[in-house]
């Protein structure tokens, strides 16, 4: 590269690199140092270096374990819910029906509404609409205030998350299905394969790339969930639905344990990075070449 080319290179890249470094790279690096420090967030108070104490403490923190467990449970259930609903919807809207375009548009709509707003809408449904329906129909086994029971509150979160994400994964599966050549399905039909065989033996294997993407999106989305958590359950009842992200937020900004909270945030990063990388590697291996 000569001087002139280097000047152009810098002119084009430096503005974004500067912003990106100050917003992401520097805070991330400082964050590693913060995790070895005890501090209450008030700038007049001292920051004391405590070594690995925060990391030892967080592994003794029962609330941290239980929020990790809730997050894992929520993530597994969400993965299943989002992807099963997404695949079913995608099969429906790739049929020959005339309403398929309208249906596709409608199924995708919830994805545009932010998690905070969605949580508030469903809060009304799970707390008041269900109770009123229970009184009216007498079916109080199904219709009760879902948000007051630790178990059902977690399921409520899964339902809202699935409602938000299913339309998104549907679109990706639709693109995958439309990418399968018609001749291949026709040939299978001629050879006597029925609808079930065509779906499980041809469509599903060829959908693996779409599956990789959807798993990646739902996995990282569910693991990092915060907005729905805040507006729908607020972590309650009795912290039974407090997820990883909320636990970190509260540790820092509610209890003012900045060092401990940051140590949790670093662990959170490592776990998120490992899971998503592992998942991509595993599903990539299983993709079929056409």
């Amino acid at each position: 590269m000569n001087t002139k080319e280097r000047a152009w290179f810098l002119l084009f890249t430096v503005p974004l690199l500067f912003i990106f470094t100050t917003v992401v790279v520097v805070p991330f690096t400082i964050g590693i140092f913060y995790s070895f420090i005890a501090w209450d967030g008030i700038s007049a108070n001292p920051k004391t270096f405590v070594g690995f104490k925060n990391f030892i403490d967080l592994f003794r923190d029962e609330q941290f374990y239980s929020s990790a467990w809730h997050t894992v449970k929520f993530t597994v259930l969400s993965l299943l819910g989002v992807n099963i609903v997404g695949i079913v919807l995608s099969l429906l809207v790739t049929s020959n029906l005339k309403v398929k375009h309208a249906a596709r548009t409608m199924f995708f709509l919830p994805n545009l509404i932010g998690g905070l707003i969605l949580g508030y809408i469903w809060k009304f449904i799970f707390s008041d609409v269900t109770t009123l329906l229970g009184e009216k129909t007498g079916m109080d086994v199904l219709f009760f205030n879902w948000l007051l029971n630790p178990q059902s509150a977690l399921y409520a979160m899964v339902i809202v998350f699935a409602w938000q994400m299913a339309g998104y994964t549907m679109l990706i599966y639709v693109a995958g299905i439309l990418g399968i050549p018609d001749e291949m399905l026709e040939a299978a039909k001629v050879d006597g394969a029925n609808l079930w065989q065509r779906t499980t033996r041809i469509i599903f294997p060829l959908l693996m790339p779409a599956f990789t993407i959807c798993l990646f999106l739902t996995l990282s989305g569910a693991f990092k969930v915060y907005d729905i958590n805040l507006s729908l359950t607020g972590g309650g009842p009795f912290k039974a639905t407090e997820m990883f992200a909320m636990n970190i937020f509260n540790e820092m900004f509610t209890f003012s344990h900045y060092g401990l909270g940051q140590a949790k945030a670093i662990i959170f990063f490592i776990v998120v990075a490992l899971i998503t990388l592992l998942q991509v590697v595993i599903t990539k291996k299983r993709e079929v070449q056409m």
Binding site: T13, L17, I19, M106, W163, F244, F269
Partner: protein
């Protein structure tokens, strides 16, 4: 026979889609009802249409100011992200040395960092910048826009980079031989070719920034600066029990999104699939 069966499936799919959207229905119908009517039957259509709660919610949420704030922050963040990320990605894709490769790898690797890992040190550094360098980063829209661009950068660079790699370089070389400088070359020849991916990136970022709650809640403290999700949050905290008022407020916040969806639907569905399949 076959026709009748197809017809039944048509109706079935349409009804399924309607049931899927029933939470929206519940929100809208109850925003018109009086308190007594709401508790009578939350699923029924309202018997009288009163816009009273909309007017109240509009005023109490400061909806207009929230809308203008959200619009400003979203448009500015997305336009800046598109301009800066496309320029950066083009240079990185067209320069073959270890620097450009390393920078690209850093961008991609940071996509794995969750926001919670950065938020506290980011607020500390921005506070430091504000007090020591006198640059108003905290509690201003411009500070929020700056941070949005930083957070959107890696994904935008990643998508642009992948797209640019598929465009043949010959046209750019020819233009350069004609004596076209890099700036003109990029804006008059390269950027127009990036149209499809630009739409994708713009849509992903518009939705992300418009709906974002956590970052603006940490940056903006003044009531007058609140974006829509923020004003909804505080409004809801105050009026949780008054469900009809809350539903009117929620409906208000969704109206702009639905209008945008009606106009940009075609691009959105295409853009989102294209972005995800990259």
């Amino acid at each position: 026979m076959v026709k009748a069966r197809v017809y039944i499936f048509e109706v079935f799919l349409f009804i399924l889609a309607l049931v899927f959207l029933s939470p929206i229905y519940i929100m809208v119908v109850n925003s018109f009802k009086s308190r007594a009517e709401l508790y009578e039957n939350p699923l029924a259509l309202p018997t009288s249409f009163s816009f009273e709660y909309y007017i109240q919610a509009f005023e109490k949420m400061n909806f207009l100011s929230g809308f203008v704030n959200s619009l400003y922050v979203t448009v500015a963040s997305v336009v800046l992200t598109v301009i800066l990320a496309s320029m950066t990605a083009w240079m990185l894709a067209r320069t073959d040395n270890k620097w450009s490769k390393t920078i690209y790898l850093v961008f991609v690797a940071t996509m794995l960092i969750p926001f919670q890992t950065i938020m506290m040190p980011l607020m500390q550094s921005m506070n430091w910048v504000q007090t020591h360098l006198n640059i108003p980063m905290m509690n201003t829209h411009e500070g929020l826009i700056y941070m949005n661009v930083g957070f959107n950068a890696s994904m935008a660079v990643f998508l642009y980079h992948g797209f640019i790699k598929t465009i043949p370089v010959a046209l750019e070389e020819a233009a350069e031989l004609e004596g076209c400088n890099k700036f003109r070359l990029f804006w008059s020849i390269v950027f127009p070719m990036l149209k499809t991916i630009t739409v994708t990136i713009a849509i992903i970022n518009i939705m992300g920034v418009w709906n974002d709650f956590l970052l603006p809640s940490l940056v903006l403290t003044d009531k007058s600066l609140r974006t829509i999700p923020l004003s909804m949050f505080y409004f809801f905290g105050e009026f949780t029990i008054v469900w009809n008022l809350a539903m009117a407020g929620l409906t208000l916040t969704i109206i702009p999104v639905v209008i945008f969806y009606m106009f940009a639907q075609k691009y959105m569905i295409k853009g989102i699939t294209a972005g995800a399949l990259k």
